[in-house]
Structures are given as structure tokens and as C-alpha cells.
């Protein structure tokens, strides 16, 4: 278990979030992550994240697929079990290309999905801490990691100035752990029910 202390600020608009990210970074605070309800264009750039290497992995999977298909088919149809199809040569590349293409796509697609899940630590029964449940709805949630030197009150005031309308301090697990979300656990309070 690797529990750390976070100051979590919520924003309700992209146009406030972007300058805030910039300010927080220039002030030298370490942004753990920003959780948004939808993919925000250019946010990765603003946060200074490096470009993902998922596509390089995809390329490698694709090449693996190509080689597997080419190697497999050519071994089977030329040396292991040669068959005569309509007088075509045993090594008949054009006929194999659709299969080679499909295996290329299959390997890269499946490989990239699995790699994506691995990079994001997504799997059944893995649990991760949610900083704010409404990050999946309409809040832009910024989690800033506190170090030994961080003055929490200063940071809270700083976030307030940067435009955060809801700020709290959480001690949270940064990694994942085995577990399930409790079915009874209410992540979002249903305000409509309360009124009724």
C-alpha cells in the first residue's frame, strides 16, 4: 500500500481548467492527474505528459501478426501439408494476403487493447481510488500530490485563486488493489430522491 496525501480541486469549466493547470505547474506543484468527464483536447500537452507509446506497441504487434501469418501459412502450405488448389503454386502469396492482413489487424487490435488496459491498470476486480465521483459527470478534478515540503493551506488557497470551487484534502492509495465496488456504496448522492 502506498498512501499519499493529495489536495483535490474541482473546476467546472475547461476555460478555467487550462490556465489553472498552467499556474499550478509554474508554481512547481506536482499534478498527480486531472480527471475530466470527456477527453479534453490539448490537456495532455498542457500537463506536459509525454506522448503515448501505445502506437509503437501497436506497430510491433502488427508486425508480429504479419510474421505469424506469413510464417504459419507458408510452412503449412509449402512443407508441412502441401495441397494443390486449382493448379496454383504452393507458395501463392496473393491468396494469402487477405489472411496476413487480417492477422495483422487482429494482433495489433487485441494487443493494443490489452496494453491499454495494462497501462491504465484496468482489469476486472482491480480497484482504484476515485478522487471525486462527479469527474465522470460534469466536474474537472485536479489531484495535486503533497510532498513533505508542501504547505497544504497555501496550496488550497492557491487552487482557490486559480478558480477551483471545491477543494479538499484526501489521503489516498495511488496504486490499485484487488476488490470490488460495493453494490450498496452510493457514489453519487441522488439529489432528486432527497427532495422527494
Amino acid at each position: 500500500m502506498n498512501v499519499k496525501k493529495f489536495v483535490v480541486g474541482c473546476f467546472n469549466d475547461e476555460s478555467v481548467l487550462f490556465p489553472a493547470v498552467k499556474k499550478v505547474r509554474t508554481a512547481g506543484y506536482k499534478i498527480h492527474d486531472v480527471y475530466t468527464p470527456y477527453p479534453v483536447h490539448g490537456l495532455d500537452h498542457a500537463m506536459g505528459l509525454r506522448e503515448t507509446s501505445l502506437h509503437t506497441a501497436g506497430f510491433i504487434y502488427a508486425i508480429t501478426g504479419t510474421c505469424t501469418a506469413l510464417g504459419g501459412i507458408s510452412w503449412i502450405l509449402t512443407s508441412d501439408w502441401p495441397l494443390n488448389f486449382g493448379g496454383k503454386p504452393h507458395f501463392s502469396l496473393p491468396a494469402w494476403i487477405p489472411i496476413i492482413f487480417e492477422l495483422t489487424v487482429l494482433f495489433s487490435a487485441v494487443g493494443m487493447v490489452l496494453t491499454f488496459c495494462y497501462l491504465c491498470r484496468l482489469a476486472p476486480f482491480l480497484k482504484k481510488h476515485h478522487f471525486h465521483p462527479r469527474a465522470t459527470d460534469d466536474y474537472f478534478v485536479m489531484a495535486i500530490e503533497c510532498t513533505a515540503k508542501t504547505n497544504v493551506d497555501d496550496l488550497k488557497a492557491f487552487l482557490q485563486n486559480a478558480g477551483a470551487f471545491e477543494i479538499d484534502v484526501q489521503n489516498a492509495e495511488t496504486g490499485w488493489w484487488l476488490g470490488t465496488y460495493d453494490k450498496e456504496q452510493q457514489l453519487i448522492k441522488d439529489s432528486a430522491v432527497e427532495i422527494a
Partner: protein
């Protein structure tokens, strides 16, 4: 709108280069006409007219692809291309010049020269040939001239209407109502163009102009193949002009993001072209019926073997490996290199499509081919440059301009 350089002036160096290309091309044309065009040998004559024919068809189609690009993006309600839209507009004016040239050459081949070395269906044998007899309802001089006139005429006319609409953006700011009506009128004209484009470039015109050279043979992939070939080189031509103008310090609002999207088009349609190339080849190879394989006889096993596979390397392997990475699509040098390579590659593709049938036993790629190509390239540089100087380089009051300025890929 801070100060932007919206008025293009053609640098004298560019003008000199274009004129030099035109003169070199004209010399090649005259020499070719004297040595081959006036020759009493039917085969030599067919070589000359075949060369003129594939060059003019290729360059007409890649310039027309610019108008297709404008209309397709208009119909898709795209805004990203607005920062450089005046460039495809200027390139598409070349249809006004190349269209009639192609028309004259085709009319000469069909009516005056009656050249059945090129179009076998013009010969008397065709009237008794059991296969060609069935095709004569489509492959006859009357239909040929009517359809060719209509095709070229409507490309020019609808293209002119699109460009005229675009000029409205220079007049002044549009309010909400004006903007809506402007977009609507653009949509109507663009749809008309697209429908006509589908009936011509994407189907009948390649059948008539190119596929009928092998009158016995047919392929259902042929028109799409021609379209993919011309569209990917059309996008490369747009990329070349965009980069040229960027280098001269124009097009302030066009940046890496726009180049990236043009590069994606070049990449994607190279793959699409290969898909059609392969589908056409593989089905015929697999079926192995002699009426069908005849087309590939001279290309895969005969004299054109080298060119045929070079074509595949230039137009598939190179774009696939070089344009695959995001960074290379945002790199001006690499995109320029690939654009030149693709335009050249598909020119070679058109070369083998026509000359692989006109001159089956011998590859004649030489001074005449490069000379005529130089003539057309010179004409493109000269007239597109002139056309760009006529209008501001930015459609300043287009309702979608902002989308293009903040475009993010």
C-alpha cells in the same frame, strides 16, 4: 485579424521556372509530333497520341480532385480546410484549361485519326467481334463525344459555381442568416458536383477513356482505382502548394495541424489505392480466366514487369512506411518528398495503365513522356500561381474560418 499577407504575388523565379518547363515541354511536344505523330507507322503514331492522352487525363483528373476535395469537405460540414481552401480552388481552375486540351486530344484520336491502335472498338472488326458487338452501345464515337463533353463541361461549370460562391467570403462579414444561406447554397452546389463526379470519375469516364483501350477486358475495380490514384495525387498537389506558400511566408493560419490532416489523406488514400490495386489483381489472378488475365500478361510477366512493381513500391510501401508516423506527417520536408513521390508514382501508374496496352511489347518511357509531363507541370505552376494572385489567400469571412484557425489534430 492582425496583419496577414493575404495577397499572393508570384515570385519571378517561380514564373521563370514554370516558363522554362513549358518551353521544354513544348519542344518535346513538337519534336514528338514530327518524329512520331506524323509517322506513317501506325504504332509510332499510337505511341505519340497515347502519351499525350495519359498525361492530359492524369493532370486533368488530379486538378479535378481538388474540386472533389472542396465539395467533399463542404458536404461533411468540415471547417478545418478553410485556412488553405483557396489553394485547392486555384488548382481546380486548371480543369478549365486541361479539360478542353484532353477533349481535343480524345476527339482527335476518336474522330479524326480514328486510331484503333489505341481504341480497338473503333475498328471494323469490332462490328463482327462477338464480345465487342455487345459493348458497342456504350463504346461508340457518338456516346463517347456526348459523354466526354458533358463530363468536362459540367466539371468546369459546377467548379466555377463553387468558386464564385467562395468569392462571397471576400465581400464582408456575414450575419447569422446570410451565413446559413451561404452554407446551404454551398451544400447544394457541392452535392451536384459530387453526384456528377460519381457518375463520371468514379464510374463512366475511366471506362470510356482508359479501360476501353483494352476493349475486350473489363474490371469492376477500374474506375475506383483511377479515382483513388487521381485523388491521392490531387491531395499531394495541394500539399505541395500549401508548403510552397508557407515557405514564401503566406498562409499564416495554416500550421502543422492542417499539414497533418493533408498528410493523413495522402497516407489513407495510398492504402485505399493499394486495396483496390490488390483486389483487382488478386481476383483476376485467382480466377485465372484468359479473358481477364490478358490485362496483366504484359504487365506482370511481360515488358512492364519492372514498372508494374516499382509502381507498387512507390505508391504503397513508401507511403505506408514513411507517412505512418505522426511526426512525419507534420514534417514539411518529408511531406514535400512524399508528395513529389506520390505525384510521380501515380503518373507512372497512369503511364502503365495506358501504354501497357498501347505498346504491349516494349516500354517506351523516355524523353517524350517526361517532356509532356514537364509541359503540364509548367502549366500548373504558371496558371495556378496566376489564379492564386487574383483572390485573397484567405476566405476571410467564411463562417467556418475560426474552426480552421483553432484546428487541433
Amino acid at each position: 485579424m492582425a496583419s496577414i499577407r493575404e495577397q499572393f504575388e508570384m515570385p519571378s523565379k517561380t514564373r521563370t521556372w514554370s516558363l522554362a518547363l513549358i518551353i521544354a515541354g513544348a519542344v518535346a511536344l513538337v519534336l514528338g509530333f514530327i518524329t512520331k505523330g506524323m509517322s506513317s507507322d501506325e504504332h509510332e503514331k499510337a505511341l505519340f497520341w497515347g502519351t499525350l492522352m495519359y498525361n492530359s487525363i492524369y493532370f486533368t483528373l488530379i486538378c479535378n480532385a481538388s474540386m472533389f476535395f472542396i465539395c467533399a469537405t463542404t458536404l461533411a460540414m468540415g471547417g478545418w480546410q478553410m485556412a488553405f481552401r483557396r489553394i485547392p480552388e486555384a488548382i481546380s481552375t486548371m480543369v478549365k484549361i486541361f479539360g478542353p486540351i484532353t477533349f481535343v486530344i480524345l476527339i482527335y484520336i476518336v474522330f479524326i485519326d480514328h486510331n484503333h491502335q489505341i481504341y480497338h472498338w473503333l475498328s471494323d472488326e469490332a462490328k463482327t467481334d462477338p464480345i465487342l458487338k455487345g459493348k458497342l452501345g456504350f463504346l461508340n464515337p457518338t456516346f463517347f463525344i456526348v459523354w466526354t463533353t458533358l463530363a468536362i463541361g459540367l466539371w468546369i461549370l459546377l467548379g466555377m459555381r463553387m468558386r464564385k460562391l467562395s468569392s462571397e467570403c471576400d465581400e464582408g462579414p456575414m450575419d447569422n442568416e446570410q451565413g446559413k444561406s451561404f452554407i446551404w447554397r454551398n451544400t447544394v452546389t457541392a452535392s451536384l458536383f459530387i453526384v456528377w463526379f460519381a457518375l463520371t470519375v468514379a464510374s463512366t469516364v475511366p471506362w470510356l477513356w482508359l479501360m476501353s483501350i483494352d476493349a475486350h477486358w473489363y474490371s469492376t475495380m477500374y474506375s475506383w482505382y483511377t479515382f483513388a490514384s487521381s485523388f491521392v495525387s490531387g491531395m499531394s498537389l495541394i500539399a505541395l502548394w500549401v508548403i510552397y506558400l508557407k515557405n514564401k511566408g503566406y498562409l499564416e493560419y495554416t500550421n502543422d495541424e492542417h499539414l497533418h490532416d493533408i498528410g493523413k489523406f495522402m497516407f489513407a488514400f495510398s492504402i485505399f489505392w493499394t486495396y483496390l490495386w490488390f483486389s483487382q489483381y488478386m481476383l483476376i489472378w485467382y480466377g485465372n480466366i484468359s479473358e481477364e488475365t490478358i490485362y496483366f500478361k504484359s504487365r506482370v510477366q511481360g515488358a512492364y514487369k519492372g514498372i508494374f512493381f516499382l509502381n507498387l513500391i512507390i505508391n504503397f510501401i513508401c507511403p505506408l512506411l514513411i507517412l505512418m508516423k505522426r511526426n512525419s506527417k507534420r514534417n514539411y520536408t518529408l511531406v514535400t518528398f512524399m508528395a513529389v513521390l506520390i505525384v510521380f508514382g501515380h503518373w507512372v501508374d497512369f503511364y502503365q495503365m495506358v501504354m501497357g496496352s498501347v505498346s504491349k511489347d516494349e516500354v517506351t518511357l523516355g524523353w517524350l513522356d517526361f517532356g509532356i509531363a514537364a509541359l503540364y507541370i509548367g502549366l500548373i505552376i504558371f496558371f495556378v500561381g496566376k489564379e492564386l494572385a487574383k483572390k485573397p489567400l484567405l476566405a476571410k469571412h467564411h463562417p467556418f474560418l475560426k474552426e480552421s484557425i483553432i484546428h487541433h489534430t
